[in-house]
Symmetry: C2
Subunit: 199 residues, 2 copies
C-alpha cells in the first residue's frame, strides 16, 4: 500500500484486518500493521495505543458490517407478520454466527477472544441488537399480534434466552441438526409467551 | 492413606479429587493419585486409563452430588404451585453454579474444561436435569396451572433458554446484580409462555 493514501481509521482497519487474517491475532503487532501501511509505528500508535485496541476496533467493525447491519434491514421493515420477522431476525443472527464460525474462522476466533475482554464494545453491540428486537416487538404490540408489554425488556429476555445459539462461547456445541431442533423448541416457547391467545 | 483400604471406585475418586484440588487438573497425573493411594500406577490404570478419564469421573461425581441431587429434591415435590417450584429449581441451579464458580473455583474450572471434551457425560447430566424440569411441567399441566404441551420438549426449551445463567462458558459474565435482572426478564417470558391465561 502506498504511503500517499490518507491515513484515516478505515485505511488502518483495512490493513489491520488483512494482517490479522494472515498472521493471526497472537502474532500480529501494531508494528506489523505500520509496515503494511508504510508508516512509522509512532504514527500508528497515535491511532491505536495497543495490540488489544487494534483487535477490538477490527472486531467492532466486523460485527457492525457482518451482523448488526444486515439485521437492521430486517428489523426496520414494518410490512407483514411481526412473529415471522422476529423469527427471521433470530434465524439470520444464528445462521450468520454459525456460518462465520465455520467459513471465516480467523475473524470468528478473534471475535470470541475479544468478547472476553472488550466488555464495553460488546455491550454496545448487544445493546444495538436488543434495540432492533424491541422495534419488531413494538410493531407486533401495535398490530395486536403480540400481548402488550415493555418492548425493551422483552427484547432483552429474547436475546438472552437465545444466547446458546449465538454467543461465541457456545460455538463448539453448534452441530447443525441438533441446534436447529433446540432452537425450534426455544422459539416456540418464546412465541407462546409473546403472542396473543388465539383460543 | 493406608493400602489396606479396599480400592473401590469411590476411594479412588476421593483421592483423585483431593490431588486435583491440591495440584490442579493440569499438574495431576494418574501416577500422583496412585502415590496417595499407595498402589502401583498399573493398578490405578486398570480403573482409569488416562488423566482425562480420571478428571471426567471426578467431575461427573461432583455434578451429581452438587447439582443434580439437590435439584432432584425440588423436582420430586408435588405440593404447591408448579410455577413456584420451577422458579425455585432454576434459581437453585443458577445460584449453585454461581456459588461454585466463586467458592469452589478449582472444581468449577475443571468442570468448565471437562465440559468441552466429555460430551457424552455432560449430555447424560443435562438429560437428567431436563427430565427433572419435565416432571415439574407435567405436574403443572395436570393441575391446569400450565397450558397443555409436551413436557420433555418444553423442559429442553427452558433448559436451553436459561443457558446464559448456568452454562460454565458464561461464568465470566455472571455479575450478580445484572445477572439477576436478566434472569428475571427471561423467567417472565418463560412463564408467560407456560402459564394458562388468567384474563
Amino acid at each position: 500500500m502506498a504511503n500517499d493514501l490518507p491515513l484515516n481509521k478505515e485505511t488502518i482497519l483495512d490493513a489491520a484486518e488483512q494482517v490479522l487474517r494472515r498472521y493471526g491475532p497472537d502474532k500480529t503487532s501494531v508494528v506489523d500493521v505500520a509496515k503494511v501501511l508504510q508508516v512509522s509505528h509512532g504514527t500508528l500508535y497515535r491511532h491505536f495505543a495497543s495490540k488489544a485496541s487494534l483487535r477490538e476496533a477490527v472486531t467492532e467493525r466486523w460485527l457492525q458490517r457482518s451482523i448488526a447491519d444486515p439485521l437492521e434491514t430486517i428489523a426496520s421493515q414494518t410490512e407483514g407478520s411481526s412473529a415471522e420477522r422476529l423469527h427471521l431476525w433470530l434465524e439470520t443472527l444464528i445462521t450468520s454466527k454459525r456460518t462465520y464460525a465455520a467459513d471465516d474462522s480467523e475473524m470468528f476466533a478473534m471475535y470470541a477472544s475479544v468478547t472476553l475482554d472488550a466488555v464495553e464494545m460488546i455491550t454496545t453491540h448487544i445493546g444495538r441488537l436488543i434495540h432492533q428486537i424491541a422495534q419488531i416487538i413494538e410493531n407486533g404490540i401495535k398490530s395486536k399480534e403480540f400481548k402488550s408489554g415493555q418492548p425493551e425488556i422483552l427484547a432483552k429476555a429474547i436475546f438472552f434466552a437465545t444466547s446458546r445459539f449465538h454467543h461465541p462461547a457456545h460455538a463448539y456445541e453448534w452441530i447443525a441438526k441438533k441446534t436447529d431442533e433446540e432452537f425450534d423448541s426455544v422459539w416456540n416457547l418464546i412465541l407462546s409467551g409473546l403472542a396473543t391467545s388465539k383460543s
